[in-house]
Symmetry: none
DNA sequence: TTTAATTTTGTAAAACTTTTAAATACAAAG
DNA sequence: CTTTGTATTTAAAAGTTTTACAAAATTAAA
């Protein structure tokens, strides 16, 4: 479970981080509100643990801003502010749970798991699309279009295309491709790469017969755009 | 907001009932576990407030049975049992929140609203009814029609169809399906997904023998429309 | 119990990947 | 300009993996 911990007290942050990490949680720490908001907005955490008294931006404000941005990541307030007014304010600001310091680790864990359990039925990932010339690749949906027409790629073809696009305008050796796309660490005289480059070229070549994937003799290939 | 209150102490039940009713909540009361389970199963509450020590069936057991029946109504435990063990047990049994007696009314309200907020978000994000080709799905009533003809889906089949529709036009891996529909976090060589996709295909395939659920070899499935 | 729902097992068929080998293209040397 | 050796492209065959589906086994519900 990917957890963001926003806590300004380095000592406290360290203890929580250690305690949760040891139990298999993947923790990222932000030591102030601004950093916390940035990390929460750009990454895709399963749960956010928020202190309220923070330098820069209070946890309460952070929560409100995140909700304003339509970010629905579950938020657990973990703070020493224990009055009913504080609790109600935190929950009404968009928080999902409110736990008081000092706390028991197993309770924190149980509450984190509870927040994470309610998985939504729809996959909540922002789009990751690249458009090159008349070629459109959606890395999340794994759909590829050329000239608005969907083309069917096999999984190996897709991975190869993804590797090219993510390393465009750069000569890539067959060896690199073999390592990253096929996971082969030593070349024993295979030419699968050549074969698959050929497949890809045929599939993504459009009416204008563009040469996106170019051969660099003696070096490898380059995806140029 | 429709709330079910399961509480055996008539006096306490009455106070909570009155306090919440006055603030616009629609409260139903069950005075024992068995009645509580029946009411929870047959009606459609937004939130359930559960005491733990109940005659007939403990709140903990009630919660477990409800979850076993795939009833996902948010549950808030409201009890005097305040040890960490109790809290963890309640949350792990499928509870969503745990509030100790004695409690402040405004905190109970805030926590109820928080639980209801998540539910609302989930449902209102999408249409209640989806029509794809000649297939009509009503997510509220859980009724599915093909060519104006009602088809009977089991609960697993329905959840799978719902997941497909909520993520249409996107390749979905078996792993993702297993996680979101079955709640399994690691694949130990099962192929239930394949089997259920086969069931669904048969049931929703209509006269025009449409191929809504397509296989993407090496990647998963896609619900295309 | 009986019935319905779910999961596991097994296998043929389909889809995909890799190898092979011949054809083609290219670069440097004569 | 032609030859020669090396690298690349291509198509087809061989091999492998993945998937579909039926049927049996297990589990849960009535």
């Amino acid at each position: 479970m990917k957890v963001l911990l926003v806590e300004d007290e380095p000592h406290v942050a360290s203890i929580i981080n250690k305690g949760l990490s040891e139990n298999g949680y993947n923790i990222s720490v932000a030591l102030d509100g601004i950093t916390g908001l940035e990390m929460a907005a750009s990454n895709n955490f399963d749960v956010i643990i928020l202190d309220i008294m923070l330098p820069g931006l209070s946890g309460m404000e952070l929560c409100k801003q995140l909700r304003n941005q339509k970010n629905n990541t579950p938020i657990l307030f973990l703070t020493a502010l224990g009055t009913t007014e504080n609790i109600v304010a935190g929950l009404n600001a968009g928080g999902d749970d409110y736990l008081l310091k000092p706390f028991k680790f197993i309770e924190l864990e149980a509450r984190l798991n509870t927040l994470n359990r309610r998985k939504q039925m729809h996959i909540n990932e922002e789009e990751d699309i690249q458009e090159i010339d008349t070629l459109r690749i959606n890395f999340k949906s794994k759909l590829v279009h050329v000239d608005e027409l969907e083309i069917a790629l096999t999984s190996t073809e897709f991975r190869l295309l993804e590797f090219f696009v993510r390393n465009k305008n750069r000569v890539i050796s067959r060896m690199e491709i073999l390592e990253k796309v096929w996971g082969i660490d030593f070349n024993m005289g295979t030419n699968v790469v050549d074969v698959y480059v050929n497949y890809l070229r045929k599939k993504i070549s459009n009416s204008k017969s563009n040469k996106l994937i170019q051969t660099v003799v003696g070096m490898g290939y380059i995806f140029k755009c």
